[in-house]
Structures are given as C-alpha cells and as structure tokens.
C-alpha cells in the first residue's frame, strides 16, 4: 500500500498539471453546453463557412499576402550572409531561418487580423447587417476563427513550398562541397566519418532517434549493485525524500525542542589508493592534510565506533569526506544561511570490520529541519570530496534518524521509486553542471570518470550493413588548461565511446571520436552491441584535463530515416496550430478591448508563460531574501518586507503563468532543424495546448459577444 503522503504528493502534482484542463473543461461545459446550448443546436456550417469566406476575401483583397515575398527575400538575404563551417549547419540554419520567418509572418498577420477585425466591424457598423441575420454569435466567432485560420494556412503553404525549394537548392550546393572535401582529405581524417555519413544520407534527411532513459556519471563501470564515484571529480549523488505530514511534524518537533536532535545517516563503501603527487596537492588544497584533527568536532557528528586514529601520519590516505547539501525540487539550495554553496562536510568513519560500509552522521541543524518540514519534497546531495578515494553507492545511502530513547528510534528513508513504487528511489549519480551540460573530467589513461547513457527498449531494426549509427553531440566544456602539444598533433580532444549490450554482454570495443563544439558527429557501432534495445553507451574523456559538457540527450541512436517532406509538413502543421491559437487569443481579446489594446493583451497572453520561464530560478522561493541581501538591506523588518513582497509577487507570477499557454509546446523548428523527425507525441502535445486554451477562449469569446451591445 502506498503511504498517504506519496498519494497526496502525487495528487498535488496531478492537480497542478491538469488545472488548466479542468478550468478549460468547466468553461466549455458551462459556456457552451449549458449557456449556449440553443446556439450550439442551431450551429450551421454553411453560415460559418460564409463568414469565414468573407474574412478570407477581405484579407486577400487587402493584399495581406503581399508580405510573403518580403519574408522570402529576407530569408534568402540572411542565409546568404551567414557562413557556417559545417555544411549540415548551413542547412540547419537555412531551415531555422525559413521556419522562423514563416512563424513570425503568420503570427504577425494572425494577430493583426484577429485583433482588428471585430472592433472595426463594430466601429463601422458592418456587424449590423450580420447580427440581424439568423446568425448566432457563436457562428460569428467560429466563422472568423476559421477565416483567419484559412489565411494562416495559405501563408504557411506558400512559405512551405518556398522552404522546401530553397532547402533543396542549398542541399545540392552543400553536397557538391562535401564530395569535393571527401576527395581532398586523407582517409584517416577525423572528419571523414561525418562527411561520409552526409554523403550517404544527404542533408535533407530526417532521423528518428531513440533517446537514452537516463544519464549517470560514475567513477568507473558498476560493480554489481555498487556504483562508484571518484572523489574530487565534481561527482555527487542525489537521494529524494518526500515526507508525510506525520514525519514533518516529528522533524518540526525536534527543531522546536531544546536538546533534541535528528541525524542524517550516510552509508557508503570506500576504496582508497595511495595518493599520487597531483592528489597530494589536491588533498592539501582541500584542507584534508591532517583532516581528522583539523576538522571541527561538530562536523564529525556524534562519535561512532571507529578504528580510525584521531591523528594521521604524513602521506597517509586522506579521510573519506563528503559534503552534504539540501536541495529543493528545483535543485536550488535549501541550506539557508548555513552554507549556500559548499554544503556541510562530514567525515565518514571507518568500520571495525574490513569490507563493511563506512558511516557518517550529521546532526541536522534546526534550520534544515524547519525547511525539510515546509517543502513538498527535497533532495539530499552528497558530494565526493576526498582525492584518491572511490565512493561506492548502494541502495538507501541516506537516511534520517530521530532517537526516541528506544533502541530503534524513528527512521525516515528516501521517497519511493516512480518506476517501482514498492522500492525506494535509487540515488542518481551525477556531476556538477557547466555551461554545456554535466562536466566529465578527462584523464590521459582513460581512467577518469565515465558517463553512462542507459538505453531501454530502443526499437532498432536489423540494418543491412550490420552497423547502427549513433548520433553524438558532445561539447567541449573546458580546454583552456590543455596543452595542445600533449593531446596530439591535430589538437583534437579525444573521446572514447563504448557500447555494451546489457542482455548479451556484446561490446563494440572502445571507439575513439573527436567531438567539435556545437556540432553533431556520427559513429557506426555493430548491431550486436545494441540488439534487443537494452544497452549502455559509455563515454569518457581520453584527454588529460579535458572537460566535456554532456547533456541528457547528447548520445542517441538513429533507429530510422523518414521523409523530409513529411517532416516539413509536420513542422508546418505545428506552426498552423500555433497560428490558430494566436487567432483565438486575438479574437478573444478583441471582443472586449479596442484593437490596439487587444494586440498588446494578445502578446502578453502569448508570451507570458515564456517570460516567466525566462526569469527561471530568479522566481524560486527564497529569492526575495537574496535580493534583500544584494541590496544590503540589513534592517530585519525592511529585509523581511522586501523578501516577502518579492516572494509573493513571484508566486503570483508563477500561478498566473500556469494559466497561460506554453509556446514551447509548439516545437516548430526544434526537431526539423536538428534533422529529427517530429514525433507524433509532439503533434499531440501541440494539439492538446491548442484545445486546452483555444476551446475555452472561443467559448468565452462567444459568451462575451452574446452579451455585448454591438451598436456603438
């Protein structure tokens, strides 16, 4: 049986996710099925089509379409002025410009037409001769929407035909350049595989990719149930906690009771080796030289049974130290004023029996207890600090313990797994994030940490040539400290890729690739290594001090090719759905506002969600406190006022943005510019947003129009 707190949290999540749908449903049912049942019953497609035809004719005769040639000329000029190095990048940019121009054009036209039509018809009283005919206000609203949707479709068709023709022309040009380049470069050139892939598949291809289920950063390949992290390599693991109300009360009680304590128990396996010169330096830099005596007693926590001496000889193994932070559900620090960034260090205690797990115990500060009991969920983040040390992570490495005087006390374990609710969630092993993804540090001997992309149930059909292409988008995070002389004549960073079939154990062997910044490269691996769809792709940086930036989808497997025309059609279909949403919002605003204000209101509704998203973590709870600190307001009352005001405003903004459409759900160019097939799920998602916001706004427009005096 699931604990009640898990259910309540899940319900809260569902409530948050489906709230717009619920609101939409209520509006549609009340507005259309109850209030407008009579008009719904009388709905006539003939009248709707007639009204839409007038809107269409008006736009055409007012020469709205004359703006399309301007957009086309703009696209051609911009693409001719840009000179990307990579031919695929040139096609991508051209695709992006074409779709951007189409989207901009159709959106601007839709906004202007939809926002101005109704107010102008009311203003010049043309509406008199329409509403005095047997047309319902519902038919007028629907007719106008359909009319402007037809205009959008016309523009999109024109721009779509241009896009295809233009990209086809560019593709021929670029392919000629690729063939010339292939004839001129040596056979072992690192760029040859990618060029060969282009020559074989062309540029106007659409790949259907299977993405990995997850990405984890390990110190080395897993050893049974133990997954390893390397110390001092920016690696950490996350353990999620979701507390019940009862557990929150227990923690709050500890926080409020003088003398009471709660502990965060850490259990890890530790393997250490004698530090080399670099690691010795790092140990000193980290202040772990004589750590056992230098660390404060408080950080050691309550004394546990241990055989470790309290002082260490010089050049001995460093203490196994971890750094612990609390993060909220958005991965922002919950540590509060204690320590925003570094966390609290805990020295793990060596067990009496060799081979057993090491233990650490942190007395949870009262401020943490307060925060734990206030948030719906939180993560315990544990960084591996000590050099020359490998940290082995098993199930449930973190646990909250409250002594009660009885032998067992109260133990609070991690949240339940989303995939398998009967088991606790597995810790996620990750590394610090840089500008281009998670950081993977490199070592020349290939013994640095590894990134493991885990694929499950990838649907890969047997290829005729026995190999399957992998698509890699590995970024160079940092190479400023790299001595080009040392990393090879060409100066390229080396990355080792290995595919291991989890069912058969077949391995592709180590394949060396040379990634380039912001470029896609392709790699063929034996089908046997991916057969069955359950496999891991292991990525490691082979170059000393070379940091790679890895995103969750940096490695994917090409499972099929699709027609570019079909993919372009799907992208334009998404754009059309977006334009219909724009039209509906425009018409809705124009039913109660003058046209200039309606245009502004439409833009706010369209861009509101995106704008709040752009503010990102600046609106997280607690940001108000940071602002008060940044402005050096030390007066407690003023600081609290500013903090609370900002937090309230942030909360209001977030709530309002939840009711506004998310335009990122309309991926017009996101897929096609990367050469990826627009998935059906993406089309359905766009349709879902259109329905969720378009239908209720249509109904509201109808309700407003029905109660509106159209005579000025």
């Amino acid at each position: 049986m699931l604990p009640a707190f898990v259910l309540s949290f899940a319900f809260a999540d569902l409530w948050h996710q489906y709230l717009p749908w619920l609101a939409a449903g209520i509006i549609v049912v009340l507005g259309l099925l109850i209030y407008g049942a009579h008009d719904l019953f009388r709905l006539s497609l003939t009248r709707i089509w007639a009204i839409s035809s007038v809107c269409f004719s008006e736009a055409i005769r007012k020469r709205t379409l004359w703006i399309t040639p301007l957009a086309i000329i703009g696209v051609i000029v911009v693409t001719q002025l840009s000179h990307p190095d990579d031919p695929q990048e040139a096609i991508r940019q051209a695709t992006k410009f074409c779709l951007f121009a189409s989207g901009l054009l159709v959106s601007v036209v839709a906004i202007i037409l939809a926002c101005t039509n109704l107010p102008k018809e009311i203003d010049n009283r043309v509406i008199f001769t329409v509403v005095t005919k047997p047309t319902t206000r519902l038919e007028i609203v629907l007719g106008k929407c359909l009319g402007f949707a037809r205009i959008s479709a016309t523009i999109i068709i024109i721009m779509g035909i241009f896009t295809y023709a233009y990209l086809q022309t560019r593709s021929w040009t670029e392919m000629s350049a690729v063939h010339r380049q292939l004839a001129s470069i040596p056979s072992d050139s690192p760029t040859r595989p990618t060029l060969v892939y282009y020559a074989d598949h062309g540029f106007l291809t659409t790949r259907r990719l299977d993405a990995p289920e997850n990405l984890q950063i390990y110190g080395r390949l897993p050893d049974g149930n133990v997954r390893w992290m390397q110390g001092a390599q920016s690696e950490y693991f996350l353990v999620p906690f979701t507390l019940s109300e009862e557990q929150k009360d227990q923690l709050q009680q500890v926080a409020d009771t003088t003398g009471a304590s709660a502990y965060l128990m850490t259990t890890l396996r530790i393997q250490q080796h004698t530090p080399n010169a670099t690691e010795q330096r790092e140990i000193k830099e980290l202040g772990l030289g004589n750590a056992a005596v230098e660390l404060k007693a408080e950080e050691l926590g309550p004394v546990l049974p241990t055989s470790r001496p309290t002082t260490q000889p010089a050049n001995a193994l460093p203490p196994a130290v971890v750094s612990i932070r609390l993060l909220n559900q958005n991965y922002r620090s919950l540590n509060g004023t204690l320590d925003e960034s570094a966390g609290v260090r805990v020295v793990l205690q060596q067990p009496d029996k060799p081979g057993d797990s090491w233990y650490g115990r942190l007395t949870i500060p009262a401020e943490w207890l307060n925060r734990m009991s206030q948030v719906p969920m939180f993560y315990v983040q544990v960084h591996a600090i000590s050099p020359a040390t490998d940290y082995g992570v098993e199930a449930e490495p973190e646990m909250i313990f409250i002594p009660t005087g009885k032998q067992s006390g109260i133990k609070i374990g991690p949240a339940m797994s989303a995939q398998d609710p009967g088991k606790p969630a597995e810790p996620e092993l990750l590394s610090s994030r840089g500008a281009r993804g998670m950081i993977l540090m490199g070592k020349a001997d290939g013994k640095g940490p590894i990134a493991l992309y885990h694929f499950r149930n990838a649907k890969i059909s047997r290829p005729s040539n026995g190999t399957v292409p992998l698509q890699l988008q590995i970024n160079i995070e940092k190479n400023g400290e790299v001595d080009v002389e040392k990393i090879g004549e060409s100066g390229y960073a080396k990355v080792g890729v290995q595919v291991i079939n989890n069912k058969t154990g077949e391995s592709s062997g180590l394949i060396e690739v040379t990634p380039e910044l912001s470029q896609t490269s392709f790699l063929n691996v034996p089908f046997k290594s991916v057969e069955g769809g359950d496999f891991d792709v292991v990525v490691r940086s082979q170059t000393q001090d070379q940091w790679l930036g890895l995103k969750d989808d940096a490695v994917s497997v090409v499972v099929a090719d699709e027609s570019f025309v079909v993919n372009l059609f799907k992208s334009l279909l998404v754009l059309w759905m977006l334009s219909i949403l724009v039209v509906v919002i425009g018409i809705f605003c124009s039913t109660f506002l003058s046209w200039p204000i309606a245009i502004i209101c439409t833009l706010v509704i369209l861009l509101g969600h995106w704008g709040v998203d752009q503010l990102g973590s600046a609106l997280d709870p607690g940001s108000g406190r940071s602002i008060a600190t940044e402005f050096r307001i030390y007066d407690p009352v003023s600081s609290r006022t500013i903090s609370q005001t900002f937090d309230t405003l942030s909360h209001v903004l977030r709530v309002v943005s939840n009711f506004l459409p998310d335009l990122s759900k309309f991926p017009v160019s996101d897929y096609i510019e990367r050469g990826l097939a627009v998935p059906l799920s993406s089309l359905l998602q766009s349709l879902g947003v259109l329905a969720c916001y378009g239908l209720p706004l249509l109904v509201l427009s109808y309700v407003i129009m029905r109660n509106k005096e159209v005579a000025p």
Partner: protein, 300 residues
C-alpha cells in the same frame, strides 16, 4: 399563439433604454417606457427629430442593444432572436456592408447566412439586383466604388434577400435622388400590397406621410402621439372644398355666398403640387413617352 399575437407583427411593452457611463451611472435616457403595437400588413412610421429615440427603438428591436427595462416581441418571438431574424429584413440608415465585395458577392454572402441554396441564389440575386436598379456593370463593381444611392440600393437588396415578413427601414431615402426616393416609396407600397409589414423610421415627414398607414412621433425618448396618418393630419375646424375649372366670377360668387351664410376667413386659391410631384412630372416629360423608369419593386 393568441389571435392578437397573430395579428401583431411587433409588440413593444414598457421599453426603456438608458445609456450608462464607464462607472455604470445613468448618462442618457434614450427611450422611456415605450408601448407600441404594429399590426401585420401595415406600413408604420416612426417619426421624430434627431435624438428622439427612433434608432434606439430599431436597435432594440433588432437585438443590437439590450433594453434597460421592458420587452419587445417581433412576429411572436423575442426581439433579437435568430427565429425573428429569419423573417425580417433590415436596411440600416447607412449601407453598412463589406466594401471589398461587389454587389453580387454581397447578396450571395447574405443569402448564405439565410442558408438559401446556391441554386436558388443564382436565380434570386439577379432578380433582386434588377429590382433595385443595379445594372450588370455596377453589380460587378466593389461596394467601395458605389455612389451613396447605389449603396442604398444594394443595402435594400440585402434586406429583401430572404423575402422577409417584416422589413425595418431606417431612413430609407437618405442619399437617394428624387427618382430613387419615389421608387423607394413605390416599393414600400408594393411590399404592403404583398402583405408585408413595414416599419419606416424617418425624419423626412413627406416620405412618411405618403406611404404610412399609421405613425407615431417620438420626442425625448417618449411617444408623443400615435394614430392613422389621415386622422392625425385632419384639421377639424377648417373645411376644404376642391373643384376644377372655376372662373374668377364663380369664385367671387362662392365667396359672396359664404359671407352671406356667416362664414368668415375664407381663402380661395389654386392648390400647389408638391415639389416632388413637379420634379417627377418634368423628368417623365424629358424621358419621353411620358414614362419615367418603372419604380423599384413594382410588379413586372
């Protein structure tokens, strides 16, 4: 439906309209407690100076605005309902039509709003355009190129596209030349002969006098008078005798007789025609055969 409801084309009870300002405070009382009944088949005139409440009454009857109090029912249904709109035709005071459409397209569009089959429209649209006097060349021109008179004609055609039972004409002769005005009046009489009910709203008294069976005069949003045109215009304390071809001597003899029987303030003159009649006579003479163009709406 009761018998009185069957006989009534329009029934207005306590109809009141108060325009409010932004804050919801009363600004103008445009119509105040109007009670009115228009019988089926009559031509009813709604008279009054500017701002008297004529257009407000029409707008309320069409559902363009909503009453503050009272109600209006048209042909047995609530004013503004689609059931009513199926059976009425409306010519607004100016031709508020889509200016980018041509005459034919305009009528096709409004015909489709009545769900008139395209086959029927192909027959009906040219007939209506002929009726209102738009020639083949004009009906292909965009409405924005139309003169005011032509715009009134196409406006009238759209009001008749559904062969309505009740026609509301708001200032129908505005912008028309005298011939057009006469044609319009002839059309109204023709519609009455076809059994249609016509509500005529105008401040041109001569127009109303010529065609209306009954009139009401509004002023300051209130009804001032209501009745048959003939009854309302009758001056009961003056007697008028009309005859043809009396000589001056005979006139003097009649005056002497009237004086003898004690009738004072006698005026005997030659009657004058109306300017409109004079204009029409001259135009007829110039167009030859003594016949002007057939009036709009007259049966062929």
């Amino acid at each position: 439906m009761t018998q009185s409801a069957q006989e009534e084309a329009v029934r207005i009870e306590h109809l009141t309209k108060i325009y409010k300002d932004f804050w919801g405070r009363d600004k103008v009382r445009a119509l105040d407690d109007l009670n009115l009944s228009i019988r089926r088949g009559e031509v009813f005139g709604l008279l009054g100076p500017n701002g008297s409440g004529k257009s407000t009454t029409i707008k309320l009857m069409l559902g363009l605005i909503f009453p503050t109090a009272g109600s209006a029912s048209i042909l047995g249904h609530a004013a503004g309902s689609t059931e009513v709109n199926e059976k009425i035709g409306f010519l607004p005071e100016e031709s508020y039509l889509y200016r980018f459409l041509n005459g034919e397209e305009t009528l096709y569009f409004y015909g489709r709003l009545f769900k008139i089959p395209r086959r029927d429209l192909k027959r009906r649209v040219p007939m209506l355009l002929d009726t209102v006097g738009l020639n083949a060349k004009d009906r292909k021109r965009k409405l924005r190129e139309y003169s005011k008179g032509m715009a009134r004609r196409i406006g009238l055609a759209q009001a008749l596209i559904n062969d309505p039972e009740l026609i509301l004409l708001d200032e129908p002769t505005t912008g028309l030349d005298p011939i057009g005005t006469r044609e319009m009046k002839d059309l109204i009489i023709s519609l009455k002969q076809q059994g249609k009910t016509v509500l005529l709203c105008s401040h041109l008294l001569a127009d109303v006098q010529d065609v209306c069976d009954r009139i009401t005069i509004l002023f300051g949003g209130r009804m001032q008078t209501l009745g048959q045109v003939r009854d309302l215009l009758q001056v009961r304390d003056i007697t008028q005798i009309q005859t043809r071809g009396m000589s001056t001597a005979q006139i003097e003899e009649v005056q002497a007789f009237l004086s003898k029987i004690g009738v004072s303030d006698t005026v005997i003159t030659h009657p004058t025609t109306t300017l409109e009649d004079l204009f029409m006579r001259i135009v007829r003479e110039r167009t030859g055969n003594g016949q002007a163009k057939p009036p709009v709406g007259s049966p062929n």
